[in-house]
């Protein structure tokens, strides 16, 4: 089934598509030994922390099931919850905007900032605004955005792309960070060392001026409570709290799936999120706000509700559970593929296993056809997912959608599709299958195996065998198939 007519995230705006397919981008990343060591260290550390704090929770599996059920209820009744949220936010003095896609969201936010007369905004770390490429849109309108999360600041100053949902600069080590600060941070002390405390102090000094002067802040949201109109951001550094309380105007961009029905649902999610995300029992800062309050915090609050392919994702009953995601990044940290390639290879702000199922659904599979195949289906992601998204099954489903999409676009089947059809045909006839097993044993395998001992000859092997023999030897062909041996007994 295809979902023509259901709008997906538009091309040419935001960051959901890579410049090249995953295998090619991965090859570039794999060649960087420093990157692989940085990633192995960082993901290994956070994996161990997560495992320790999760093992303390006796009802972890029940919490996961509850979270999945709550999110599924939200997704099944999304229209009702969204209009409920809208009504509550308006009642409490906020303004609600509906954005069908990245372009519309960028336009809305840019106009809102322009209306304040400010040429600068401070930003809380937000995946939604990275997804739509908001900073670039603001820059084109002559408005400068300052990222205030330390890792986002590193990415922004380095004119780089985030490579992890929680730790956008996970691919950088502290020497690289020092060099970025020295080159790009206004007013930085020239003798800055790569001591983590010194780097944090430099960022603090730099950001403090921004917090005190900014009149507009832009945030995302971890959760929105439909029946109270409350928005929430969880964070580690306190920069978010500054942005959410000091400026006069606060603009929040939120994906439409971030809803929870009631305040009590946070009981489930605030146990799951910090433990899955940073491996902490609780995150240091949890900020909540409901509309505006005279004399306290922002006097103007805008909520931008973003679709950008989410409704299209919701329409696929086998793919929609991806919208349960709470952006904890536990699946990235356990993924053996992510651990080797890092996030940039995925080409989207959503990397790793969740990115491999979310990005192609937001853009439509035709625009991200390599991502569903960027997994060994090892299942480590599903095991750690706090909202129990069966990512391996979803990857398999999306592989099917990619193949269907390719078939629909061509009169002739792809070589792979033709091969699969031929294999399926051969495997369902006893005589032809027995013959084929024998042929494989006697002939080609043996010859190719001998050829492959020579490095030059290995390169001459035709695809797809060359993909195998470039890093592995072929098995020694047996003297007899099992079925022939059995028949002889």
């Amino acid at each position: 089934m295809t979902y023509l007519g259901m709008p997906t995230a538009p091309a040419g705006v935001g960051q959901l598509r890579g410049a090249e397919p995953f295998p090619a981008a991965a090859e570039t990343a794999l060649a960087n030994g420093q990157l692989r060591r940085n990633l192995a260290n960082a993901t290994g550390t956070i994996r161990a922390k997560r495992a320790a704090v999760v093992s303390e929770v006796p009802d972890w599996q029940e919490l996961r099931a509850a979270a999945a059920a709550i999110k599924d209820d939200v997704l099944a009744n999304l229209d009702g919850y969204l209009t409920q949220l809208e009504a509550r936010v308006i009642e409490r003095g906020g303004v609600v905007h509906w954005a069908r896609d990245a372009s519309e969201a960028n336009r809305i936010v840019t106009e809102l900032v322009a209306a304040t007369g400010s040429r600068e905004v401070v930003k809380v770390k937000s995946m939604a605004t990275q997804e739509i490429g908001l900073n670039q849109a603001l820059e084109e309108a002559g408005i400068q955005a300052f990222e205030t999360d330390l890792a986002e600041l590193i990415v922004q100053l380095g004119d780089d792309r985030p490579s992890h949902i929680l730790v956008p600069a996970i691919h950088r080590n502290r020497t690289e960070i020092r060099d970025i600060f020295l080159a790009e941070m206004a007013g930085v002390q020239p003798g800055l060392t790569d001591d983590p405390a010194a780097l944090a102090e430099a960022a603090r000094t730099y950001l403090r001026q921004k917090f005190l002067s900014a009149r507009v802040a832009i945030s995302g949201a971890n959760f929105a409570i439909a029946d109270t109109g409350t928005l929430m951001v969880v964070e580690s550094e306190g920069n978010g709290r500054m942005c959410l309380t000091l400026p006069q105007t606060l603009i929040t961009v939120m994906g439409i799936e971030k809803l929870l029905p009631g305040f009590a649902d946070l009981e489930v999610f605030l146990q799951l999120l910090p433990r899955s995300s940073t491996g902490e029992r609780m995150n240091p800062y949890t900020s909540m706000w409901t509309g505006v309050h005279p004399g306290d915090g922002p006097s103007e609050f805008h909520l931008v509700l973003l679709d950008n392919g989410r409704t299209a994702t919701l329409a696929d009953e086998r793919g929609r559970a991806a919208l349960r995601c709470i952006r904890c990044s536990a699946c990235l940290n356990v993924c053996p593929v992510y651990e080797r390639t890092g996030g940039h290879a995925y080409g989207s702000v959503y990397p790793g296993p969740i990115g491999a199922v979310l990005s192609p659904q937001l853009t439509g599979v035709a625009d991200n056809p390599s991502l569903p195949f960027a997994s060994t289906l090892c299942g480590a992601c599903y095991d750690v997912c706090p909202v129990a998204i069966d990512i391996p099954s979803m990857l398999v489903h999306l592989r099917g959608r990619v193949n269907e999409d390719k078939a629909a676009g061509h009169r002739l089947p792809t070589p792979e599709a033709a091969g699969m059809a031929a294999a399926s045909w051969a495997m369902r006839g006893r005589r032809r299958w027995t013959w084929l097993l024998r042929a494989a044993r006697l002939g080609r395998w043996a010859r190719l195996d001998r050829l492959s001992k020579s490095r030059t000859a290995r390169r001459l092997l035709p695809p797809p065998l060359s993909s195998w023999t470039r890093s592995r030897d072929l098995p020694e062909p047996p003297a007899q198939t099992f079925r022939d041996w059995w028949a002889e007994q």
Binding site: T341, A380, G400, V402, P475
Partner: protein
Amino acid sequence: MRVALFATCLVDGLFPDVARATVRLLRRLGHQVDFPAEQSCCGQMHLNTGYPAEALPLIRRQVRVFADCEAIVAPSGSCTGAIRHQYADTARRFGDERLAVAAEAIAARTYELSEFLVGVTGVTDVGGYFPHRVTYHPTCHSLRLLRVGDKPLALLRAVEGIDLVELPGAESCCGFGGTFALKNSAVSAAMLADKAAAVAATGASVCSAGDSSCLMHIGGGLSRLQVGARTLHLAQILASTRSEPALV
């Protein structure tokens, strides 16, 4: 018990020693072994590469061939996983409820080797003899899809003479992943290099596992990198005795 062997296409064609070892082991434990000759492939490759329509006739075939078998044993965690977790769902996707019900029935009687030995027949000491240093890679689908737990290790620990050593980072995927090994061969090779280094660090002469597909990949890497260790399927170690030792 009367046991139908599902050899799997890979073992049938390329690793017949694994199926022969499975037969020898099951017979030694007093089971009667059948090999339904109409069997071919479970369809896992088609399913996991996104060709469910091409997998469907193979699912029908598997369900028909094994319909009357009391217990079906496969020396593969991933093929057993496909039958148990993907068959009925795929049949329903194509609107074939009767096939789905029949698939659920054979899935309930299809066991990966260690599941059958430990879980069904309650045996951990199968009377094996294998005086070598062995390390065990648990394979993702046995571990996370079938949840076989430490059944394979319990079987190996009871083998006489074995020096079983823990594989560092055992639960990390080896990088095979079916067609992933070809479509993303660079990433697959990077994962394989780490797995081969872990095997080398144990000083084991044999790396074992319950899936010939993962072992084909690991073995191909060990050979290319000249680690000095080879691969043997769990069934081959368990079947090994003083009179009929497995070759190392």
